[in-house]
């Protein structure tokens, strides 16, 4: 009797322990803590600032767009796939008219239904100044996504008709950057976006949970996300601004964070030695000098070619401990329109000969650089190396350092008004629109966008117009490739390197696939306790 009683007590105790352990396992949340390079929390109300890092962490986490970037592969440059729209097509008889078929059965985090009315409300948020929901900041931050849109009309609850101002075959890429926020959520607080920011709502894989201004933003997984493959595999995502690279490395090694953006190259061996995973993958980034090509020393193609021949790109890659690759193009090799750019061999003597021939010896140039900045990598030592190499090949380079804000201002001014012969300004050619059309067509010279150096070629302009009016993807890609080849042959920039997008991850993390993109999908990450 006593032994039966004892066995019973022991069994009950074992069950109790097992139940307690299971209970505590259920209660324990899996948390992914990310250290961002941003100095502040990006805008979280649907119009992220702080560059593409803002879109990465405060944009595509909580919100979706009509199309989304496919971030599932490391082997190819990310392209746009269906998001809140399942498909879209242009009217074969009127290439200004697009039909977007919206995804059914999607709700915002606050329960508001996603449909054509929400979509139209969102377009008005950034396009219609008379609309009560119009937001000037959102219009500026998200404006480039709708710049080609003339009007939007509802065909039925899940069909939208978008009319563009001009033929815009790249519209799906523009709209992939335009985030949809909950119309119910904004209207419920009387269109007060500050109040909306206390409980923002999108349709994304993460929901907003908590914010400590300037310190941390906490998101939780959206179990009801419309794409079950992208329901996050961790419960909570904590985003921490940490602008100092050594701090990020220390936080990772001391276990305070799990995922670190952009570790500085000289910390990478230490991080690897401490068992951290270092992941690098090419992405559409270039660290080049934008050159003023309509006047000054770089107006002569021989001078531009000489500059490209003067650079020992391998030296730069070695200085960066391998977290960069040699660049010969504004695009990266895996992009469909990369083409066949001239592959400049390091030839300082050849560069000198060209400068002599061009009558520019020594060739005095004034280059604006920044001391830091998004995508600028390690600007001070990198620019010192470039200057050393250019000076050795017959140039006389004056580097003019300024802070990032000032350099952005110089970029917006355009080359002619700036007083510089070139600027070191990294760019993000994430699609053909940003990487080719807006870079090289004459109409996009400052102040209209991104053709800083006022490059102009009638042939390139014609190819651009043709590409924008070509809705067959294969034919359009061919036109864009031809356009890019024509531009690269003119050496409009000093091509140096592409960043390899280094990230450092704790060994506790598995499942992350680093995409060839400025944006990343954190949802597959599993955090092992």
């Amino acid at each position: 009797m006593k032994s039966i009683k004892l066995r019973g007590v022991l069994a009950a105790a074992a069950l109790a322990v097992a139940a307690g352990a299971a209970g505590s396992a259920f209660a324990q949340e899996s948390v992914l803590r990310v250290a961002m390079t941003a100095a502040d929390i990006p805008d979280w109300t649907g119009a992220p600032d702080q560059g593409y890092e803002g879109m990465r962490f405060a944009g595509y986490t909580m919100y979706d767009a009509l199309g989304l970037w496919d971030l599932s592969s490391s082997d190819k440059a990310a392209d746009v796939i269906p998001g809140l729209a399942t498909s879209w097509e242009v009217d074969p008889t009127n290439n200004l008219l697009w039909t977007y078929h919206l995804r059914e059965g999607v709700t915002f985090h606050d329960g508001c239904a996603w449909n054509a009315d929400s979509a139209i409300w969102n377009f008005a948020r950034v396009m219609d100044q008379s609309a009560p929901q119009f937001n000037a900041r959102h219009a500026t931050q998200q404006g480039s996504g709708v710049v080609n849109v003339a009007s939007v009309a509802k065909i039925d609850d899940y069909t939208l008709q978008i009319t563009t101002k001009v033929p815009a075959s790249l519209l799906p890429y523009d709209l992939a950057m335009f985030l949809m926020i909950s119309n119910c959520g904004v209207e419920a607080v009387g269109n007060d976006y500050a109040k909306f920011g206390e409980k923002p709502a999108g349709t994304g894989p993460y929901k907003f949970d908590r914010l400590v201004p300037r310190e941390r933003m906490e998101l939780v997984k959206n179990d009801a996300y419309w794409n079950p493959d992208r329901v996050p595999k961790h419960d909570r995502l904590v985003l921490l601004p940490m602008p100092e690279a050594s701090t990020r490395a220390a936080a990772l090694m001391s276990g305070q964070v799990d995922f670190v953006e952009a570790p500085s190259p000289d910390t990478i061996p230490v991080l690897q030695g401490a068992g951290m995973q270092i992941i690098t993958v090419p992405y559409p980034h270039n660290w080049n000098y934008l050159l003023k090509v309509d006047s000054g020393p770089f107006a002569d193609i021989r001078v531009r070619q000489a500059a490209n021949m003067a650079i020992n790109r391998q030296d730069m890659v070695d200085m960066l401990q391998g977290v960069a690759v040699a660049g010969y193009n504004t695009l990266i090799e895996s992009q469909a329109w990369y083409g066949t750019p001239p592959m400049y061999e390091y030839d300082p003597d050849g560069a000198k000969a060209l400068l002599e021939e061009a009558g520019c010896m020594p060739c005095v140039v004034r280059i604006g650089i920044s001391t830091s900045g998004s995508g600028q990598m390690q600007p001070l030592p990198m620019n010192e190396l470039v200057k050393e190499q250019l000076d050795a090949a017959g140039f006389e380079v004056e580097l003019v350092p300024m802070d990032w804000n000032a350099l952005i201002g110089v970029f917006f001014q355009g080359a002619t008004a700036s007083g510089f012969d070139g600027i070191n300004f990294s760019m993000a050619p994430i699609d053909a629109s940003q990487g080719i059309i807006k870079k090289w067509m004459t109409e996009y010279a400052a102040p209209s966008c991104c053709n800083w150096g006022t490059y102009s070629s009638p042939k390139v302009d014609e190819l651009g117009k043709a590409a924008l009016a070509e809705f067959d993807q294969a034919k359009r890609d061919a036109l864009l490739t031809e356009m890019n080849n024509a531009v690269m042959a003119d050496a409009p920039e000093l091509f140096i390197v592409h960043d390899m997008n280094p990230r450092a991850l704790s060994p506790k993390l598995t499942g992350f696939v680093q995409a060839q993109s400025w944006f990343q999908d954190l949802t597959p990450i599993v955090v092992t306790p």
Binding site: D49, P243, E244, T247, A250, Q256, N405, G409, V410, C449
Partner: protein, 318 residues
Amino acid sequence: MWMYALRRLVLTIPILLGVTIICFALVQIAPGDPITSLVRPDTPPEQIAALRAYYGLDQPVVVQYLMWLWRVLGGNFGNSIANNAPVAAEVMRAFANTIVIALISVLFAFVVSLVLGTIAAIRQGGIVDRLVTALAVFGISVPTFWLAVVLVIIFAVNLNWLPATGMGASGSDSFNYFVWDDFKFAIMPIVALALPPLAIMTRTTRASLSEILNQDFIQTLRAKGLGGFQIITHAIRNIMPAAIAMLGLQLGYLIGGSVLVETVFTWPGTGALLNKAILTRDIPLLQGTILVLAGAFVLINLVVDLAQSLVDPRIKRS
């Protein structure tokens, strides 16, 4: 003394006005503006212009300043251009985060420097004096940024005794200095902040005390039969006005100049806030922060002056 204090408070107004005018002018001279930090490279120029107009940045500079001043006089510090948050709330939160560690740092430095400076003055020329002097020189010479990074490497990364960064495991809104799990986040920032003032105040204490100990009245005290400790107490009382003045200056420096430490430790204080406001040309935030810091600096100096006259009756404030 109260009239003196009142007069000093009234004189604060033109000081604050002058400081805000100078800061506003300096930001206008610097290239760039708050909108360039916000927008993408491919933002259409008409939208950039619209946003500038929305924030009143298309107005003449003098009008912009007067509009800001008018709002401040009405108690409205405006919103940050960078993140649209109310400036008053941002600044007061950051100021609270900085003033506490600044106070702890400077008081810690004050007490330790009094002890070390006294020992060095008593044992002039000896090994202790040399060690204290070496520590002081090290403290003055070492870059605070470097010291902060080294502290993190040793205590956070290698020993894992203290957290590397941040203000509390859950953020500053739940931070409690009396809870060890929170306070340990403040230890390294406090040490990094305390070392330079400790070094300066140690040297000042040693020098002042050495001079006092060589004065005739000390001999008189010895002749009267007072012991060493009692003599030191008399001597220290004589150096207190200078020590208090130094404490006030160091505290003022810490509340405004801790940007490097706050960046390394990601401590959400006024240094980091000011740095960010300058880099993004966030004028409302910059002006609000400067106003609060300048006001605090003036107040600290007033308190120091009043404390000096309390400690040394020979100093009359009138």
